[in-house]
Every structure is written in C-alpha cells, then in structure tokens.
Symmetry: D2
Subunit: 366 residues, 4 copies
C-alpha cells in the first residue's frame, strides 16, 4: 500500500496507516506524504517507509511503483478533498487500485470523471466510509435484507458534532471550511455524506427525493455548518437526515434508527458494539458484538470476544481487510465503490443548490 | 375540581384525577364522566364523587356547581378534542376556571373562540402540556433564560411513538385517527404539539417559520402518522421537530436537545430525572433531580430526595399544583395558557396545510 | 387509614400519605402526627384530617377509632424505628390492621413480640419494603419462580448512597445514626434490610449463612455506615450484599442482579421501569414497563402505557393497593409480612454481632 | 519483538501481535508459536515472521536472537500460565527484556523466582494487565493522586463474566480450569487478579488485609469460578472485590468504583471511553476520552479525537508503547512490573488458601 497525504501533523493519514496494517495483511511501503521534502522524509521514517519510496508527488509514486516488481498494489488517498481526483486519476491510469477517503472528490463533475476513468480502465476502487465497517452496522444491513424488521417505512440518521460551534476554529477546521479545498459543501461534505451513505447502506434503499435546509449559525462562515434534510426512499419510506458541526459539546455522534413494519434497529457510533432491536409486539433485544447469533460478515470483522470493546480503527481495518479480499480476487467485499461515491457527491451538490434556491422537494436521480 | 370525560375505560381521565389529587390540595368532587347514565354513575363511584354531583352533561355540571356554595373552582377537560371547546365555553361563561387537555381545541377557529371568550370573561385557564411539568424541564428553561448555554442556535425536539406502526389500532387510536373527533391533524395534533410546546417553553423562543413534511406510512390512513418539520426561531436559531407514531417499538420517546453558543442541554422523557449539560470546552455534567443546585421552580416540584424516581403523574401534578397557586391568587405559575394553546392549534393547521400544498417554507405568525 | 408520625418536616410520613391515597381507594382520616399539640394540629390540616381525629398519641387514636362506626381500618406507622413496636402493639390489641415502615422494630426481641402479638390476635400486618412494589421487581420474581433463568446460583444486591460520606449530617441522618432511636444497626438497618428483603423476595430463596463486614469510615460514628456481606442461600446459591451510605455522590442506587443456570436479570431502582434479561446463549432482552408480555401482578401495578415513567410513589402505592385487597378479603397480596420483618431484624442483629466479633461465617436461622 | 505462544487457534497471541504493532513502532520478527513444527511454521507465516526465525522452543529463540545483531529486544509471553516462568527465565538469562501476560506465573514460588532472577540480572520486565492501559483508567489514577476525590475510603471492583456458567466449556476454558496448567486459582487467577491490580493501580493504595470467599457453582469443577472478597487498604479504606465467570450472560464486565471523602469515580470497561465523577455536593460530571482537560498520560494514549471509540487493542497498545519507552531509556512508563506480578500471585495463593480454610480475615503482606 502507498499513501498520499498523511504528513506530519495530519490527522487522518496515520489513522489509515494504523487501520490498514492492523490485521497484519497489508504493509505501508510507499508514500507521497507531503509536498515539503523534509516533512515527506520525516513522515516516511515515522511510517517505517524506506527513504527511496517516499516520493515527491503521487504521480512520481505511481510511476515508480508500477515499474517495480514489488510495487504497491493499491494507493490510499488521504488528502483534502480537492486532491482526491488527481491522486485517483494517477493511480487508475497506472493500473493501481485505489482506496480513497470520502467524499470521493470536491465536485460532482470530478466524481463523474472518476467513474469514467474506471469504466475505461477498471481497477478495484474503494471508499473509506469508515462507519460502514462496524460489524454491527453490517449485521443490521444483513438482517434488514433478510426481512427482520419487515418493509422499512421510516429512517432517521444523524451526525452531530460540536467542534465548529464557536467562531474560533483549529487546523482541522481550516480546509474543511474553505470552499477552494473542501468543495461546495461544508458540514454536508464532511459528515453529511457519511450519514447519507450509512442510511442507504444499512437500509438497502436509495434516496429518491430530498428537501434540504442547509445553513450556518456562525457569522461569516461561507459553507454550511448545519444540515437538515427530509428524505424519501425508493420504496416510499420517509426519512430524516441531520448533520451538524455546531451542536455544542457533541463529539462524533453518528446514529441511525430504522423502522420497519414489524421491528426497528437503533445504533450509535459512540457506543458501537451493540444495537437495539425494537419489536412490534413490545419486546426489545440488545444485540451485542461477538454474539454467536451474528452473521458471517459481522463475525469476520470481529477480533475479540464479547465484552472486549473494538472501536473506529477496527471498523476501518475491516474495510481494508475486505479491500484486500478484492485484490486477492475473493468475492464478498462490502467496501463502498465509486458509484456510492458518485451518489455522495450528487447529494452534496443537489442539497447545496436546493437549499440555496429554497427549491423545496427535488428529485434525487444520479 | 370537576371533571368532564374520564368515564369507565378512558385512559387520560383517571390520570388527571390521580395527578390533581396527588399532593392532597385538590379534590375531585363533581363530574360529567360519560353520556351514558349508568357509566356516569359507575365512574362517579370509582372517583369517590357523590352520586348527585355526577351530571348528565358539562352544561348541567357548571350550572349546578356555580350555584353551590361549595361548588367546584375549576373544571378539568379530558375529552376527545372535538369536545374541548363546548366544555371550556360552558365553564368560562359560568365564571369557572378551566384546566384543559391539549391540543386546546379541534380547529384553529375554535381556539380563537376560546381566546375571545377569555378576553370577554377572564378566568384562569390552563393547558395540561404534561411534559412541561417535569422539574428538570423547568430547570433547563430557567438556566437557558439565565444564559447558561449562551444564545440558542440549534434545537432538536422529537416525539417518537410506535403504537400506530401496524394497521390494527386499538380503542385509543380510534378517535385520534378520526378527523371528525381529532380535528385536522393526527400525529401532529396528538403529540407533535407537545414537542412544539416543549421547544418553545424551554428555549424561551418562538417559532417564526416552518417547513413541514407530514404524511402517513400506513395505507388508507387519512390523518398524518409521521411529521418532520424544519423550524426557525425568532432569534434566528435553526430547529428540527420530529413526531411520529409509526416508529415501531418506541414507547413515548419525547426528547429535547438545545444547543447554544457556549453549551447544550439534552433531556429525555423516558428517563426524566436528569439532563445532560454539554459544555463548549469539552466538559459534560449530568444534572440530577433533587440536586441542591437546582432552582426554586424545580425544587418546588420535587417530592422525593435524589435517587428516588418521580414520573409522569408527578409532572402533571406539578401543573395542577401551580394552577392551584393561581386560583389562590399566588403568582409564579408556569402552566401553559390559552395563548400557548392558540399557537399549538395554529401549528397544526399551518403544518397540515403547508405539507399538503408542498409550500416549502411558510411564515408562522399567530 | 390512620397515620402515626409524619408531623411537620418529616420526610417519610407525607410520602406514605401520597402513596396510600394515590389510587383513590384509601383515605387518610386520622393521625397522631406529633407529640407537640400545635404541630399535630398543623399536620392534620395539611393532610386534610378533621381536627378531632388528630390524636395526642397512638394509643388515644386506636382507642377512639376502634370505637367509631367509621373508624380507621388500618394504621400506618411512619415513626423512627424505636416507636414502631408501641404503635403496632396498640393497633393489634385494638384489632386494627397495621402497615409499618421497615425495619419492623428497633431490636430482634421487639420483632419477636410483634410476631407473638399477631399470633395471639391476628390482624393484617404489612411492611412497606417500598422497592418490592415496583412492577418490574414483581415481574422478575414471577419469572424466576416460573423457571425463566433456571436454578439461581449467584446473586448480587447493592444499595449505594452517599449522603453520610461527610461528617456533617442533616436532620434525616440524626436519628438514623443514634443507637437509642435507630437500634443496633446504622446503614444495615436503614437500607441494608431493603437489599436483603429484595434479594429474598425476587429470588424466592432464603439466606441461610452470612459472613458480615460492617464498619464506619467516618471518624467517631458509632453505628455502621458501610456494610459488605457474603451470603449463601437455602439452595446453595452464592451471594453478595453491599449497602453503604458513604459512597460519595450516590443517590439511592439500589440494584439487583440474579444469575441462574440459563439466564440472568439486572434491575436498578434509579431507572426502575425496565430490567435486562441476559441469556445463556448470548442474547439480551430489555423488558420494559407496561409491556404486554408482563404478567398480571406487574400489570395490575402499572397505571400508564409504556414509555410514561412511574416512580417510587407508585411503587409504594402498589403495596397499599394490595394491602387494601387483603383488608377486603381478597387473596393475592405480596406485601411483606411480619415474618419478613422478623428476618430483617434477625439480619441486623446477627450481622452487627458477627461483624463485631469477626465470627466469619455464621448460620442464619430465624 | 519475539512471541512465545500464539499458535494457530490461540486467542491471546494474535491480540498481543496486533496491539504491539498498532502504532508502527514495534515489529514482531521472531517467535516460538507452537511445539508442533507445522503449526509453528503456519503461525510464522500468518504473523509475517521469516521462517528461519520461527523457533522450536523459547530457549532456541532467545539463544539465536541474542546472538543476532538485529535480534529481538524483548520477548512477549502469551502462553498458558504454567509456561510463563520458563519463558521469562530463558529471556532474562539471555539479557532480553520481557513482556508477560498475567498472572505472572502459575504459583507464588515461581513468581518469587522471577523477582530473584531480575534482581540478579536486571532487564526491563512488564506485565500486560491490559485494562490498566486505558487512557481513562490512567486519568482516574492521576486525578486521585492529585487529590481530586480526597482520601479514598471505599472501593468496589468487579469483573463479571458468564462464559463458564454452563457445564459445557470450550477450548479457552480448558486450560484455565485445569490446575496443572492454570495453577491454583481458576477465576481468581484468570480475572480476579485483573480486578485486584486495577484497584491498586488506580487507587494508589495497597491491599493490606483480605477475607476471601471463593467457590464454584458448577458441579465437579475443581477450581473456583466465583470469587468474593472483602478488602482493607493500607490507608484504612474498605473494599470489595468480585470476580465471577458464572454470571450468566455477562461478557467482560470489569468495573471500578472509587469513593473518596469529597468525590468518586465510576468506570466500566465495556464502555471505556468515559468515566463518571460524582461530587460530594451532588454534582456529577462525565469525563470523556480525548477531552482537552485530560492529563498528559491519558492524552499520549489517545489516538483519535473525542467521540471516536478506541477499545481494548488500543489499551494494550498503550502498554506496549510505554514498554518501548523504557527500552529506549525514557522514563514515565506505567507498565506493571514484576513486583505487581508478585502481588497478584500472592493474592491468588492467599485467597485460595484462606477461602479453603475459612480463615476469615488474613493479613496480606507480600
């Protein structure tokens, strides 16, 4: 695995490195960590990457690695959104697989380009919608597909953070609130797409109409910091999406509730090793990680016995584990693909436009 | 106290009777419990009301009681919504005070009539928005008014039930889903107004614009069973209101989250003896019932030491206790009044209309 | 109902009055609230008791009431422990039924006297072990009796309070820590017996051996403020009892966990409207108040639909409701009786002695 | 790092491997994974260890590695308890540092031998009392040392599991319940010592007296499966230790509550990213992972921002990270050492003996 981004001080790059290597089946061996040569070398040393495989650019990396016998078999993209497309393009054109952070690109147009590139030159392409790697998220998905709660008729997904509630913003906030680097959307692009992807992934249904209310509560902020959205799904189900970065004091409260005709599931990322199963007859079960009744997809992503908490790194590691399955030619990966990436970018663009123009309900066809 | 409604098999009448009498300062002494004479007599006996004070109609009750030296000093209205106005009208015209269940009436026009009646002949008039009686709800209100969380900029209120998730509905559902008896709104009138009142009551701000999405997920149902609403408050705060009776397996999950510039409060009715106080600096406190730091309004509504749970009956009893203060001429009651009732009815009517006509954002001026 | 104790400023007397009268089937009509005539009259007025039925002593009350056509049919004893016996004796000798607060008396010898008095002159006698009135406590008991968790093999009961953690103690603490008024035990008598009674009541098994470790952590305190006890039950089950009033910051954290061969129940008084059912196969259910699957004893003690919290007053009201059943000659009451009271007093005396003498394991035969 | 144990099918070996390597600063490069050559080779491949560094025995490993320029700098011992001493001895005698799983050995005598070996030939020696690596455990320890809750006067530690509740036991249970391989203690040695170590580690106080009640609830089981223990600490504090493997349905419920004169902390391993801080004045705070108010030890063991759960692997990784600090000659490691190991072994031996002989209170001097 090669890594683009993740230089000294970066948050998400080291997270990818830890997660990818957690299970001992993937090695980080090359990178273009920083445009600054000294910082690039420093990062390489930190990651245990040989100096000669710390490249000045992603283009240099994919060229050199593609030429090596033992070159990387995939590139992980962990840069600000505006650099996702160039990195992915370089890898795809060199025949190197790609694991990209989300959202897939900075604009919908760029997302279409990735889809087109892949049509032209197919390589495995995955998106690290990290939260979809939690075993219990996958268990809910499997149970809903098997009919455990009947026809889904209502869904509420929310992603509540508070770190942008004040005017003062730190380094992480900087590029996320700068349209040049983050793209059109602020909160919607940073976390709203996670909520959207989780809703579609678990429910097995696609959003078909939206009514969006994006805005900012902090004076002078250009991009949205708070999003509210009514949803309709392809089966007629009603839905609600909330995402906010100004819910003062909230940490990373991504939560999903799905209601079907005969039951419901409730899950919260801050306590990820369980979900609640409400039943139409009044009963309620708590389904816990590593429970022997879990299905194979959940269990293969579980390293520890019940009661031993696993967390976000392990969830992301599950995505890497499945991406490695794909690279080995094994079926069964649930890693989100470029089409899911395209849907996410379409959501951002449509929601931003519809909210600005106060369009009310608009169709969501991608 | 006299009671209209609450005959054998009724749910809410006995609840009012228990709550009103809990603290030993109010006695239920008269009633028009049922139009059926035998059931009316049976109810009177159950409540310990003398046979000659069980009346055939509310009109008969207020006439007779107004003429007694020891007649009732207020009437409690616990009938289906369509009978709220006639009962209130009879009492007001006889100079008898009124505690009415919510929503105040079946239509906005009827609500205006009550306001007009009271303007003409002022008597104490209260609405049993039960959840506003919880001590910790009142504490949040007091703290927000005192600036504990800074300027409110985001609010999420939700009221989730599941009892109408299936097609089969019991007796309680019957009149609530019948437009003739419930009025224009289904879920919005039954529980949505509770959420709306709680949001305004605690935040101290009034809703000024709404964008409503009401609908039903059960085939053939005429009234709404699921409501989603974007809100704007008079201070510019952004808000979200959810109310649903088809969230399968949910009991009575009324919950409020209010975010200000420097802190936030989270409270849930199903665990009502505490709220969480999130702070902008990362800290979090849990404020518990009977805590010595609570203010006087919360403490006067608390009967037991910390750790001894109080519930919904005690919350409703707090409203009755304050209504009794008003009857004695004491100031300080926070019982919702007819103007709050009018706002609730306006919300129902506007939300139903705006949703049906897909109006998008509409002003909410009452 | 007549009440002894509960004068102005008392805590538990008004609680009994509210709970007994909650369901409208019991009226407080007489009392000996205070030895001080002015305070006695003041209390009577507060309770709505006629001035001529506010008596100077419990002896005067039972004499006068026994002579009335409409005299009280039972006496509620809500005094400090040292006055329980005289009050109960007076009532029993007058043929008046008794509901007494716990522990039954101040000493084991006094408890034996009550049992002897009742053998001589049987009247209904109940003890307000309040927590045994919670519907879900009764549901656990019924399910265990029906074999839902198999043979019980381990039990942990704890009752954690913190109000005596500091040296300074308020009025409530005063008599509880005074051996003359509280009896031999401090924490063990005040709350330890609650934990003991709950354990026996729910498990359906009796404690047969104990190993007690009572002590005090606050300098100069004569009575115990912290109790730890190993238990063995008559079926061989192992158990642990903790009760403490120096667990700083704890409110009223009474909690029970019972483990059988095939399942387990966990319940906590501070969140009383649910219990957890752990299953041997890894599953876990949450059983909630008002759930239609609950048995008749739980449901008859439930006033509100699911999701509407009930609390401690309602739990105590359930005991009064069942005591009233007994007075009416109806079977089925689960109110603790004098034999349970005797067991509680024996526990206090044995635990205090065994701990002082460091006896290790001692038989517990009552 | 070299690993002894952790062959195919083993549980704890791979956990050590993942945790040690998580932060990219330690590499597993050698091992004696299994006595079976084929399984040894298979394991080596799985761990990415070169075939020539998969040794037939720990003795062969330390001999060969000590002779290499790039030999391992420490040995991780993850075998059944009976093999801890030989492995540690081999490493110590070769001058190789040791990280050993707990309990340190199978008997107290063996533990004394390790202490003696280290006195003779000092090398860094650590014990993976995994739970002490959680950031919030370390934060509680630091705050107690700084006086945040005043003098500690009561402590409750419990470790509840249910996997041995039934008679049928799987592979993991096998050696743990076999005295030849597990040593004298069953539950006390497997998990009781974790609870004991956690109590001493966080409180900063040492146990000075114990009164133990060990036993088994499953017929025919030789070693204890349920432990209850009264404790006294060197400062006079009262304590209680529970550990059980027959609490049906429990997963891995290690929980600690510490009460001081002015405050208390409550923490639970199954929800490890927070603890509750109860205050003597009635207040309650929730301290959350990654909170900026945390001290340096907690923050250096935190990889992710607030709200992103970390789990057991990360906790264990923190111990490895600090052990690596020691190897690099940096101060500040909190990894438990051989003296803590000795105390744990003493606890097992004394508790087993005192319980068998029903000794009541015994001094605990190590």
């Amino acid at each position: 695995m090669g890594l683009v981004g993740g230089g000294p001080g970066a948050f998400i790059g080291p997270v990818h490195a830890m997660a990818a290597q957690l299970d001992g089946r993937i090695d980080l061996v090359a990178g273009a960590f920083s445009r600054d040569p000294a910082r690039n070398a420093e990062a390489a040393q930190g990651y245990g990457v040989a100096p000669d495989r710390a490249y000045a650019s992603v283009e240099a990396m994919v060229a050199a690695e593609a030429a090596r016998e033992d070159g990387i078999d995939f590139l992980t993209v962990a840069t600000p959104n505006a650099h996702h497309l160039p990195a992915a393009r370089a890898a795809i054109e060199s025949g190197i697989a790609v694991m990209s952070d989300k959202p897939m690109t900075a604009t919908l147009e760029e997302a279409r380009e990735i889809v087109a590139l892949l049509a032209d030159k197919p390589v495995p392409f995955g998106l690290t919608y990290t939260y979809s790697g939690y075993p219990l998220v996958r268990e809910m998905r499997a149970r809903i597909a098997a009919g455990a709660i009947g026809k889904v008729h209502k869904l509420v997904v929310e992603y509540n953070q508070g770190w942008l509630a004040g005017a003062a913003e730190g380094q992480q906030a900087e590029w996320r609130m700068d349209p040049k680097r983050a793209g059109l959307g602020g909160c919607i692009a940073d976390i709203g797409v996670h909520a959207f992807q989780l809703a579609e992934f678990v429910s097995g249904h696609r959003v078909s109409r939206i009514n969006a209310d994006l805005g900012s509560v902090v004076d002078g902020r250009v991009l949205d910091d708070d999003c509210q959205m009514f949803l309709r799904f392809d089966n007629g189900a009603r839905g609600l999406l909330m995402a906010s970065q100004v819910m003062t004091g909230e940490g990373n409260d991504l939560a999903l509730r799905i209601y079907g005709e005969t039951g419901a599931f409730r899950w919260s990322q801050e306590n990820p090793n369980r979900f609640e199963w409400l039943k139409g007859d009044g009963g309620m079960e708590v389904v816990r990680a590593a429970d022997p009744t879990l299905g194979p997809v959940a269990l293969r992503g579980t390293r520890l016995p019940g009661g031993h908490p696993e967390g976000l790194l392990e969830s992301l590691a599950n995505l890497y584990g499945e991406f490695a399955m794909t690279l080995r030619g094994e079926p069964g990966s649930l890693v989100p693909d470029a089409n899911e990436g395209l849907r996410g970018m379409a959501l951002i663009e449509r929601a931003v436009a519809a909210s600005r123009e106060q369009s009310g309900w608009v169709d969501f066809i991608v």
